[in-house]
Amino acid sequence: MAETMKQTVAGILKSIERYNPANLQTLERYVDMQSRDNIRLGGYLSVLKLYQFNPEKFNTENETISQIKYLADILEQCDFAQFWNRVHQMPELCNRISGFHDSIRKFVCHVVGITFQTIEKDNLANLLGGIDDVTLKHWVKKYGWRDDGNLIFIANQDENIKTKNITEKIEFDHLAPLMALL
């Protein structure tokens, strides 16, 4: 079932069919299925496209959209404390999408991973949404980080992030015309 659906959708996405409103229902079902499974960009984008071309089919409560936009905004600003705070206040919205919390944690881990060499354990637990010790251990292990007592060692950043010096190199070709003048 899921496999045929995937193939049908792949066919739709490749052709002019992606703009055909008759396919909206199929695509909506596909997206709904995925929100319980895992996420693929293509299907979502084509549903949005059909909403763009057929605004009358855009059946959603505006309240939810503005909540999602707010969440996206604070997430983009990396205000994770505020984000989790909000998420806990709207469980009915976020629990509907399986893996929502963990997907956000993956993003947090990505940002932590590029920012820190070492980070305080409590701080990290908070950024990940106030998780307990066992769960924290799981994430630390998943990303290959190291538990150093109070601190978590993330990675040797000094290997990658170092001052670059760009010096001038003069090519012989640039000097040649000068030689001719002398």
């Binding site: 052709s15 002019i16 703009y19 960009l41 984008l45 496209k49 763009q52 071309f53 057929n54 605004p55 905004d73 983009e76 600003q77 990396c78 205000d79 994770f80 404390a81 940002v111 932590v112 590029i114 920012t115 820190f116 060499q117 070492t118 980070i119 305080e120 701080n123 601190l151 950043q157 000094d158 992030i161 170092k162 001052t163 670059k164 010096n165 760009i166 010096t167 001038e168 003069i170 640039h174 000097l175 015309p177 000068l178 003048l181």
Partner: protein, 542 residues
């Protein structure tokens, strides 16, 4: 032609010197026509033009299209349109294909030169003429025996998308429309529908197998081997290619940046290829790709795309100066691209080529960049609205008097962009402090930041706020950057900006990019200049 409401300024002041006039240019035109006799030179030109097209002499067609046609326009039709199809058809033996091509030029000329733009009927007729043209090309069983210069094919597709854009804008300015115009628009609701435009462009892409051709070409194979009967034909191949660029533009106008970039898969923008010899097409492509990357927060890619196109234009300036109708558009587009580049470089400081840097230091760019660096949101917004494409509403509401939605699409995209700028608002301040140090304790930076803000000190809150900004800095400056592969959407996460840092518990370690002064380059240029001056002095005879 590029989006332009500005290229109507000259010409067409009056429609002729015959009396009496009704005051309505359309009627006056018909009136004048009854007295009108087509000059012999124009007749000869039309016959010769048709013959050359039928014989497929592309270099001569190009000459007639690019040089003779504008020249005759200047000479005979400065204040009037070209003769319409009823007058031209008998002269060219009702040649079906020639008449479609001629009509396309006829309307294109009206779009470009009539003040206030074409009337609704003219817009519809132009649309149906495009339908005739594309039907002729697409519904043929075997490739049609037609060969046109690539420059023309590009302008055909570009004009088709432009006229769609022009129609959408015209329709949206409800408050400026007369009741007659509103009625005309409401009776005719099929023409210039976005799905039609998509359909035409996709059909041209499919018919030519251009995607498969590009794929094979990119991997070093012979595109002809997969082109098929139609795609081997230059007409189909190039129309297919230009349609991809048309789609890039169309998706951009609708704010779909992902799809815009995706459609160009297998086209390597900066590589010379057998498809890249129409400069106006290359420049247009770079503008839309650069813009789409910027909106997707892929600043390094946007900067690379824009600066390499601008460099190319600096070097080939003399190529464009000859044909004035292209020149104005290219100058405007260049200015827009410098604005986009300025925005990207403020958000994502990075080294660019010295000669580009030079232009940005001059003129008004410098002041604008300075203001943006200091967080002037108004400046960001005005640079953006100047440089952005003319966004369209994908599904316009029914036309009613008073329902003005003309600015909605632009407002929406501006909002999206400004939200991003607001999220990044603290980054320039942080960057300016970090630039002064190689290591800096978090506490100290927090104190700097709050001192700059003024007000009460609350160490814990300052610290928390700073931590958020620093994470945001790293997140916003780490972007997907394309390095190789067929899709411009692909890439790896990189921090391409010149300043970077990491946090080791409570200490910030800073890595900057230090660019040594280019003394050598400077002296070489000065020596050459001096030598030149010296040579000239020696030539002066007193």
């Amino acid at each position: 032609m590029y989006s332009s409401d500005d290229h109507n300024e000259a010409g067409y002041e009056s429609y002729g010197d015959y009396e009496p006039h009704t005051g309505d240019p359309q009627y006056d035109l018909d009136h004048d026509r009854s007295y009108y006799k087509m000059p012999d030179l124009v007749k000869k030109f039309l016959v010769y033009f048709r013959n050359m097209i039928n014989e497929g002499v592309t270099y001569e067609i190009l000459n007639l299209y690019e040089n003779t046609f504008p020249k005759l326009t200047e000479q005979y039709f400065e204040n009037t349109p070209w003769p319409d199809e009823n007058e031209v058809a008998p002269i060219v033996d009702n040649d079906h294909v020639f008449m479609i091509l001629y009509t396309e030029l006829y309307y294109r000329d009206i779009y470009a030169r009539v003040p206030g733009g074409p009337k609704p009927e003219q817009r519809f007729q132009s649309f149906y003429n495009y339908c005739d043209l594309f039907n002729y090309i697409l519904s043929a069983e075997t490739p049609v025996p037609l060969e046109l210069p690539d420059q023309w094919l590009w302008e055909l597709i570009d004009e088709f998308v432009y006229q769609f854009q022009s129609f959408a804008q015209y329709r949206s300015r409800t408050s400026k429309l007369s009741q007659a115009e509103i009625d005309a628009l409401n009776t005719e609701n099929k023409a210039w529908n976005v799905l039609c435009i998509l359909n035409v462009l996709h059909s041209l892409v499919d018919k030519s197998n251009i995607k498969r051709q590009l794929e094979v070409y990119a991997s070093g194979g012979d595109p002809d081997s997969v082109a098929g009967e139609f795609g081997r034909h230059s007409l189909y191949k190039m129309l297919g290619y230009f349609s991809l660029v048309g789609l890039l533009r169309l998706h951009s106008l609708l704010g779909d940046y992902y799809q815009a970039i995706k459609v160009l898969e297998n086209i390597e923008l900066h590589k010379k290829s057998q498809y890249s010899h129409v400069p106006a097409c290359q420049i247009s492509t770079s503008y839309y790709v650069g813009f789409a990357y910027m909106m997707m927060r892929r600043y390094a890619d946007a900067i690379r795309t824009l600066s390499s196109a601008l460099l190319y234009m600096q070097r080939t300036k003399q190529l464009f100066s000859t044909r004035s109708y292209q020149n104005d558009q290219i100058n405007k587009l260049t200015d827009q691209m410098y604005h986009l580049l300025a925005i990207c470089l403020v958000l994502h400081p990075q080294c660019v080529d010295e000669s580009i840097q030079q232009v940005l230091r001059e003129k008004n760019y410098h002041e604008k960049m300075f203001k943006m660096q200091y967080g002037d949101l108004g400046e960001f917004e005005s640079c953006f609205t100047f440089a952005c494409p003319k966004f369209l509403c994908a599904c316009p509401p029914p036309i009613e008097a008073g329902s003005n939605y003309a600015r909605d699409a632009v407002k929406h995209q501006t909002q999206v962009f400004m939200d991003e700028v607001r999220q990044q608002k603290m980054l320039p301040t942080i960057r300016s402090y970090l630039k002064l140090y190689t290591t800096l304790p978090l506490v100290k930076l927090a104190a700097f930041m709050s001192a700059a803000r003024g007000g009460e000190r609350d160490a814990a809150r300052e610290h928390a706020a700073l931590a958020i900004h620093l994470l945001c800095f790293k997140h916003k400056m780490k972007n997907v950057v394309w390095s190789k592969g067929p899709s411009g959407l692909d890439g790896k996460f990189q921090s391409g900006s010149e300043l970077d840092f990491y946090i080791d518990n409570d200490m910030i370690h800073i890595a900057d990019t230090k660019v040594a002064h280019r003394y050598g380059d400077f002296f070489i240029r000065k020596i050459l200049k001096f030598e030149e001056l010296n040579r000239k002095l020696h030539h002066i005879k007193i």
